[in-house]
């Protein structure tokens, strides 16, 4: 956030874009413990009707959380986060997370952001995104 200025409704969060490789998906599976084969085994994924392996929704959500935390000034500022996993993100695609302030609590100073994420294929992969950012202590 811009130092020395109170965030206002309409302020944009800087976009965060990251290309997600199959290698990153595999690292995420190990780190999170979610080794569902739809993320790791292309043959299994095709067998359940997917075009191939897909990124974990939680990996996309973690990148969205990182975008909010970078703008807000740290992980601990993120008080709430939610989204809908609308379309899958495929390995090799980039995800771009965007957001803007839609409410500022006049008492606490907490900020509500509306968020979404699109893939480099042009799909809206995360929709109905919403975060609440805690005010500075």
């Amino acid at each position: 956030m811009t130092a020395g200025r109170t965030p206002q409704v309409g302020d944009e969060m800087p976009a965060l874009t990251r290309t997600v490789s199959q290698e990153q998906i595999a690292a995420y599976a190990e780190a999170s413990g979610d080794r569902n084969p739809i993320h790791l085994d292309p043959e299994f994924a095709r067998g359940v009707g997917l075009p191939g392996t897909i990124a974990h929704g939680f990996l996309e959500m973690a990148i969205l959380a990182e975008a909010v935390a970078r703008w807000a000034g740290g992980y601990e500022r993120v008080a709430e986060l939610g989204c809908r996993f609308s379309k899958p993100l495929l390995p090799g695609e980039a995800i771009t997370c965007t957001g803007r302030v839609v409410a500022v609590d006049p008492v606490s100073g907490a900020l509500t952001l509306q968020l979404e994420a699109t893939s480099s294929r042009g799909e809206r992969v995360l929709t109905n995104g919403r975060a609440v950012v805690r005010p500075d202590d």
């Binding site: 359940v48 939680f58 935390a69 601990e76 996993f85």
Partner: protein, 137 residues
Amino acid sequence: MPDPSHIGRRYVAPGQLISPERVAAYASAVSGDDPTFSSGSVPPAFAAGYCVQPTLAEMFADPELGIELAGLIHAEQSFEWPVPVRPGDVVDAAAEVTSVEARRGLTFVTVGLEATNQAGETVCRGRTLLLTRSAAR
């Protein structure tokens, strides 16, 4: 196949250690080697690792609930973090089936999540919406 008689089923994963090594592996899997944030904080989305994954693993292993991983879609996710989780915390996580609805050939399963730290403080609350295909037609 989940049905409304399963509402209230609870799955627990006590004693999840938020080890600095697990946190570092998670942060690296999401953000690469970018050391943007201090090592004293935990990415909020790591709730996927200490709260969601271990409790839902129990849920997916419940033969009476009978969730088929092959047709499972993670549709929505939301979290609140009333108190930030910190490296070294030991967290008890729990998941509870709060709603099961069959609509248009799909079964919508809503799961409520909660994690408390060693001081009894709630560090995470969440809601997971899963879709499973109903019986083959």
